[in-house]
């Protein structure tokens, strides 16, 4: 029960933060990305505030052997940069630039859902489902191939 409450509280703080920061307004996001036109630098302060708090807290937290309500930390362990990371970043950036919605603000905006938000969230869910399905199949193929090679 406690881990679920923790997730709800963390999610609520996150959504509230996105709303207060103005990230739920795609016009503000697109203006932030429009450095050669009508530039709104505010979102650099969102990232600055978030990074400041998190970069100070994270090393202290990671000094613990385990999290308070779970058996172990599940942070990513991969370090090398690969093609997938770059291709994904390019595709995500293009989508973010077109609509002004990244995943957090998109889902937080369901709190005042209109037809535009339903459309963009629906497409996001479909895109994620397709990509996860294909990656899962691809990873399985890689594994079978590796076993054959041995």
């Amino acid at each position: 029960m406690m881990p679920l409450i923790a997730a709800l509280v963390a999610g609520t703080l996150f959504g509230l933060g996105l709303a207060v920061a103005g990230m739920i307004d795609p016009a503000k996001v697109v203006n932030f990305l429009d450095i050669f036109g009508t530039w709104d630098p505010s979102l650099a302060f969102v990232m600055g505030g978030g990074l400041l708090v998190n970069a100070i807290a994270t090393p202290f937290i990671m000094r613990r052997k385990t999290p308070i309500l779970a058996e172990f930390f599940r942070t990513p362990t991969k370090h090398q940069v690969d093609k997938r990371l770059i291709i994904g970043g390019v595709l995500f950036g293009a989508g973010w630039g077109i609509g002004g919605y990244c995943p957090g603000p998109m889902l937080t905006s369901l709190s005042f859902a209109n037809s535009d938000i339903i459309v963009v969230v629906g497409a996001y869910v479909v895109g994620t489902f397709l990509a996860r399905t294909m990656l899962r199949a691809w990873e399985r193929d890689q594994l079978t191939q590796a076993q054959k090679d041995q």
Binding site: A19, P26, V53, A57, I86, G89, G95, L110, A123, F129
Partner: protein, 145 residues
């Protein structure tokens, strides 16, 4: 370049709340507050790891409702989509596919990954920022992508 609608104080406070949320999730649950990763695990689930993700996403919506209830900033009724529904579909698909292939979004790579000084997250953040800025430049200044 012309600077518009600059709101550094609410932006910083909102950012700090996001950082606090990410720190809390790591301290209590040992998980990274990457929204695309959390949502992805609901959309095509792994075994036995779903309920906390659902509560986190419900929390996001609850946070949006609290903002509206207490009038903590500009009215959400004034928010307008930046493109038509057809392009919103393209945008949503690209964000879903891109964050899945690139294993993270603005929060997972930008806030959490950089705080852990992950080189992967630094490269990812620079890549999607550059791609988004180029896209906006094409759409707004070259008349269509």
């Amino acid at each position: 370049m012309e600077i518009v609608n600059f709101t550094p104080v609410p932006a910083f406070i909102g950012g700090a709340l996001i950082g606090l949320s990410a720190a809390l999730l790591l301290l209590l649950k040992g998980r990274v507050a990457g929204i695309s990763g959390i949502a992805g695990g609901i959309i095509l689930p792994e075994k036995g790891d779903v309920p906390w993700r659902v509560l986190f996403v419900l929390g996001l919506i609850l946070g949006g409702l609290i903002y509206q209830f207490f009038d903590l900033g500009p009215d959400v009724a004034l928010i307008e989509a930046q493109t038509d529904k057809g392009m919103l579909i393209v945008a949503g698909l690209l964000v879903g596919i891109g964050t899945t292939v690139g294993t993270g979004c603005t929060s997972g790579h930008g806030i959490c990954g950089l705080a852990r000084r992950s080189p992967r997250s630094l490269v990812a953040t620079l890549t999607f920022m550059a791609s988004a800025m180029v896209t906006v430049f094409m759409v707004r200044h070259l008349g269509g992508a």
